[in-house]
């Protein structure tokens, strides 16, 4: 049986029991789930909320006058308010539900491509970015004639802030940077980035997909203009994420998709848009996922994001120390602070082989380029092995990871 003990003194003793999937036997061994940066597991509270929605609350929202429709609409809007509180947005009009971070960034990129960017304009992105914070901007640049410029990183994985200062000029119309690197775990100095960009009136979009699960997010304190995250990486269901944007910017950007719910009046010749946030939520959304996302936000808030972060920090420190002590292991991304991730390579084995051998021990990690090919090119590796931790992981699971890596060495060295 997997450990039913508390992951640490920082967290509730029965926490693991909230996650039914953690009792899975994988390849005949207790599952050790260390692929949380890809997607987190879901607590019973979220799974129950999903079932309850379909069993007792399902109707379309913002449409009917009947009992169920009013109830579903209320639950949907309550989640928006819970999400607003979670990221401390000033108004729930600034919280747009999307399918996830990818759609949120595409929404902004498409709006910038058509309404903001002109030939010769620049968008700054960093070497750390996930493809979902690169490719949408490339599409926007192709449409508008703007160009992308890369903010480089240091050898330890941290942003080169001096280069950032040099690149910031009047041509830059947006800075789009990740808050936490999905491949390395590196936390970027977001408040400082925003401060420097705003000094030149340049707006900032933060990819918060890996930040929201692990860091207490306060978009007003950070001062960003846009922030995106995904529900499924923070205990919620797949199919829901959010875009935060300041009202000023969201009013300026054109709608992302046309359809029901996003209009005020429609004639065949012309339509006018609904106010925020509906302007950006065309069609029937994933209502069930949004409603269950509320349970995830409540769970994180109740457990305490700061306590979760402290627990993960202990696991990352332990895993880093133990892995680095194994001959031939190279930790990729050594800058501090980091959140939740240890990325590494081995001189004797390719990450794909590491992943298969760990899998045979029941240990689930991610191997590959982590949708961050420019970053892999920067470190001159085709891919890495990545262990990523969350609130339910334990020091025993770090042991299992280390034992698996030792086994790789026995087989290949």
């Amino acid at each position: 049986m997997p450990p039913a003990l508390a992951p640490s003194a920082l967290l509730p003793a029965t926490l693991r029991e909230d996650f039914p999937i953690l009792a899975t036997m994988a390849r005949g061994k207790p599952l050790v789930y260390l692929d949380n940066a890809a997607t987190s597991q879901k607590p019973r509270q979220v799974i129950d909320a999903l079932s309850r929605y379909y069993e007792a609350e399902n109707a379309n929202i913002h449409r009917g006058v009947h009992y169920l429709s009013e109830r579903a609409t209320l639950l949907y809007d309550e989640t928006r308010e819970a999400a607003r509180r979670f990221i401390n947005a000033a108004s729930s009009r600034e919280v747009i539900f999307t399918r996830g971070t990818t759609e949120a960034i595409n929404l902004v990129a498409q709006g910038f491509g058509s309404a903001v960017l002109r030939p010769g304009d620049r968008i700054l992105v960093s070497t750390l970015e996930h493809h979902s914070n690169i490719v949408p901007w490339q599409l926007a640049c192709a449409r508008s004639g703007a160009e992308m410029v890369e903010i480089p990183i240091h050898d330890d994985g941290s942003l080169d802030m001096e280069a950032f200062d040099r690149l910031l000029d009047a041509r830059v119309k947006l800075v789009a940077v990740t808050w936490v690197s999905n491949a390395l775990g590196t936390i970027t100095p977001v408040a400082e980035l925003v401060r420097r960009a705003h000094a030149l009136q340049v707006p900032v979009l933060l990819d918060g997909a890996q930040a929201a699960p692990h860091i207490a997010v306060d978009v007003q304190a950070v001062g960003c203009d846009f922030f995106a995250c995904s529900g499924h990486k923070m205990l919620g269901p797949t199919g829901v994420g959010l875009l935060y944007g300041t009202e000023q910017w969201l009013d300026r950007l054109p709608p992302y998709q046309g359809g029901g719910d996003m209009i005020e009046t429609v004639t065949i010749a012309k339509s006018t848009w609904a106010p925020l946030p509906s302007k950006f939520e065309a069609g029937t959304p994933d209502i069930a996922a949004v409603v269950a996302f509320r349970a995830a936000l409540d769970y994180l808030t109740r457990t305490g994001v700061a306590a979760i972060a402290a627990h993960e920090h202990e696991l990352v420190a332990l895993a880093t120390e133990r892995l680095a002590a194994i001959p031939g292991v190279r930790i990729i991304g050594t800058a501090s602070p980091k959140a939740g991730v240890v990325s590494f390579t081995m001189d004797c084995a390719h990450p794909h082989d590491i992943g298969t051998i760990l899998d045979s021990e029941g240990v689930a990690i991610r191997t590959g380029h982590h949708c961050a090919q420019p970053l892999m090119q920067r470190f001159a590796v085709p891919s890495t092995a990545r262990a990523s931790f969350y609130l339910y992981n334990t020091p025993d699971e770090v042991d299992a990871l280390v034992r698996g890596v030792e086994k790789v060495r026995q087989l290949f060295a």
Partner: protein, 147 residues
């Protein structure tokens, strides 16, 4: 799970010391294969004379399965006719995907990759070089016979 079925000693040995590794000067065909899922890449060079494959080499970066597969492929294909080479491609493909029963005698040493069929995430690793070889052979034919 039986890892031994995947990482047989001959596979580990070819991974450590791949054969026919390097670019081939005067190649008559060349193709590049890429696995977008993991970023692995392989380049395959062929030299044919008439109908015969005289030499196959490869370069690239990849896991033990893909390196060993490429290495053993270069050995297995040397001296084959085009038709025999393509038949071997089909046999190998059927074996690693589990798509159809295979002729074990025809596969010879390549049988060690039979275990791959039980690891769906690794099928592409084993077949990457073979697909590149097929493309290289096709390029070679196109090059020679522009009709």
């Amino acid at each position: 799970m039986d890892l031994g079925a995947l990482y047989q000693e001959i596979i580990l040995e070819h991974n450590r010391s791949p054969r026919n590794h390097g670019e081939l000067a005067h190649a008559t065909g060349h193709a590049h294969g890429k696995n977008p899922l993991c970023g692995d890449e392989v380049s395959v060079w062929v030299h044919t004379t008439g109908d015969q494959v005289d030499r196959v080499t490869f370069t690239g970066q990849g896991c033990a399965i893909s390196r060993a597969s490429a290495s053993m492929m270069t050995q297995a294909l040397t001296g084959k006719s085009r038709e025999e080479a393509l038949a071997l491609f089909r046999q190998f493909h059927d074996m690693v995907t589990g798509a159809a029963p295979v002729d074990e005698a025809a596969l010879g040493k390549l049988k060690v990759f039979g275990g791959v069929a039980r690891f769906p995430a690794r099928v592409k690793c084993a077949s990457l070089a073979w697909h590149a070889f097929k493309d290289a052979l096709h390029e070679d034919a196109t090059h020679r016979d522009p009709a």
